[in-house]
């Protein structure tokens, strides 16, 4: 999976899993497996979001510094 849209792929999978579990048609083993996968995905997504936010904060701070037009 390309790093560029990993978040998007993860989010899409997570949303799919949530929808499936909410529907409740799966058997127990499947449900547990999906739930586990969902938890993993949610951890990854959450981390990616945090990382993105941190990077933005840093970039914004750097951007605050004055510049001159050459």
């Amino acid at each position: 999976m390309s790093e560029i849209n990993k978040f998007e792929k993860n989010m899409e999978n997570l949303e799919k899993i949530v929808a499936e579990l909410e529907k409740g048609d799966l058997n127990l083993e499947e449900s547990v497996a999906k739930f586990e996968e969902g938890m993993n995905l949610s951890k990854q997504c959450s981390k990616m979001l945090e990382d993105a936010e941190k990077r933005i904060t840093i970039l914004l701070k750097e951007g605050e510094e004055d510049f001159s037009v050459e």
Binding site: L14, E15, L28, F35, G38, S42, L49, A52, V69, E70
Partner: protein, 397 residues
């Protein structure tokens, strides 16, 4: 003959002459040239003046409707060509010219030349938009072709350095009017190009008559502008003057100051624009993150994650129900057996002799066998008598 009968009035005479002149084909439409004198701009808007040459003069009038369309300010001494008709002003008994169009004399040929060259170059494609170069956004060096003296270069320097204190303005001095000016201007453009002396060129001149601006209408200048690798801004004359140079140049500025504004960007403005763009970037990025966060939170707010046991509730319920059913079954079975047991015991109880014994009856047994008749016993038999509280061995006498 009576002279009195023959005599006409002055009015009749003037009327007659007026009629004569009005019917003359030649006088209906004339072009006449001369010099203006005794010029009066009447408050009604009409123009009154005399047109003269070395020997003669004639009165002229131009009504307001026509005077409004004049492209120049007539004044005493101006050489003009007038188009109009001749008519008689009866009251004063004078004929005069009623001017409809008036142009400065000598200009006509220049206009013709201008129009011809314009058409020729246009057909050749020198004015084509596709050929026009982009004016650089932040030129380091701005070349200016104009007169070394005069207000034009000062204006350009003032405007330019105010907008961008770091810009370098490189003047290539050229005469901007008169014989030979066009050649010098063309040379200047070529020189700046061969030596790559500027990022953008301004060709500038203040306002003036068409003759004054003429160098900028010459083919040699037009071609040099067209061939220039350096983008050129033409800033010649006033807003209303259009020279050939204006049409060929990559950009036309209405005045020299405007030319400086077009060539040299305002540094502060650029800074502001960068800041605005930066802010937009920030806002856009933050918005994106917020959106993804919401999306994520929406997922996580699902009951699946808030209360995962819900996933197994049904299974638990099923399990519980099975256990309960099982218990119930077992209980039922037990109860069934218990009640049967009690029933049997009760039955057993009623049949038991022991109860009878407690009421004072006794049971006789011999060798474990119950004796029901006297005949079964004989003398010296050892028998057991069973009381309610136990047995007693007895000997039969």
């Amino acid at each position: 003959m009576n002279y009195q009968d023959l005599a006409i009035t002055v009015t009749q005479l003037n009327n007659y002459i007026k009629e004569k002149i009005a019917n003359d084909e030649f006088l209906k439409e004339i072009f006449i040239k001369g010099e203006i004198s005794n010029f009066k701009h009447h408050y009604t808007g009409h123009l009154y003046f005399t047109l003269k040459d070395e020997n003669c003069l004639v009165k002229c009038i131009m009504f307001k409707t026509y005077a409004q369309k004049l492209k120049f300010e007539p004044k005493d001494g101006a050489k003009v060509i007038i188009y109009g008709n001749v008519s008689v002003f009866e009251r004063d008994g004078v004929y005069q010219i009623y001017a409809k169009i008036m142009e400065e004399d000598g200009i006509g040929s220049l206009y013709k030349e201008y129009e011809e060259l314009k058409l020729k170059l246009e057909q050749e494609g020198l004015f084509k938009v596709e050929h026009k170069q982009k004016i650089p956004k932040l030129p380091k060096i701005v070349g200016v072709l104009t007169s070394q003296t005069g207000s034009v270069i000062r204006d350009i320097i003032n405007v330019g350095t105010r907008r961008d204190p770091k810009v370098r303005i490189r003047l290539y001095p050229v005469p901007v009017q008169g014989e030979g000016a066009a050649i010098k201007i063309a040379e200047g453009i070529r020189y700046m190009n061969t030596n790559k002396l500027a990022d953008v060129l301004i060709i500038a001149r203040g306002g003036g008559s068409i003759e004054d601006l003429w160098p900028f209408n010459e083919e040699i200048v037009a071609r040099e502008i067209y061939n220039s690798q350096i983008p050129i801004i033409s800033a010649v004359g006033h807003e209303t003057d259009f020279t050939i140079a204006d049409f060929v140049a990559d950009l036309r500025a209405p005045t020299p100051s405007a030319g400086a504004e077009l060539a040299i960007p305002d540094r502060e403005e650029i800074k502001q624009n960068i800041n605005i763009t930066k802010n937009r970037l920030k806002v856009a990025l933050n918005k994106k993150i917020e959106m993804e966060k919401l999306r994520y939170q929406k997922c996580m707010a699902s009951s699946i994650f808030k209360d995962p046991t819900r996933l197994f509730q049904d299974e638990y319920y099923r399990l519980d129900k099975n256990i309960k059913d099982l218990e119930k079954y077992i209980k039922n079975k037990k109860q069934e057996k218990e009640s049967r047991f009690i029933e049997i015991i009760a039955k057993l109880d009623t049949l038991s002799p022991l109860k009878t014994l407690t009421r004072g009856y006794s049971l006789v047994e011999k060798s474990g066998k119950i004796i029901k008749n006297k005949k079964e016993l004989k003398k010296d038999d050892i028998i057991d008598i069973r009381f309610s509280d136990g047995k007693q061995k007895v000997k039969v006498i």
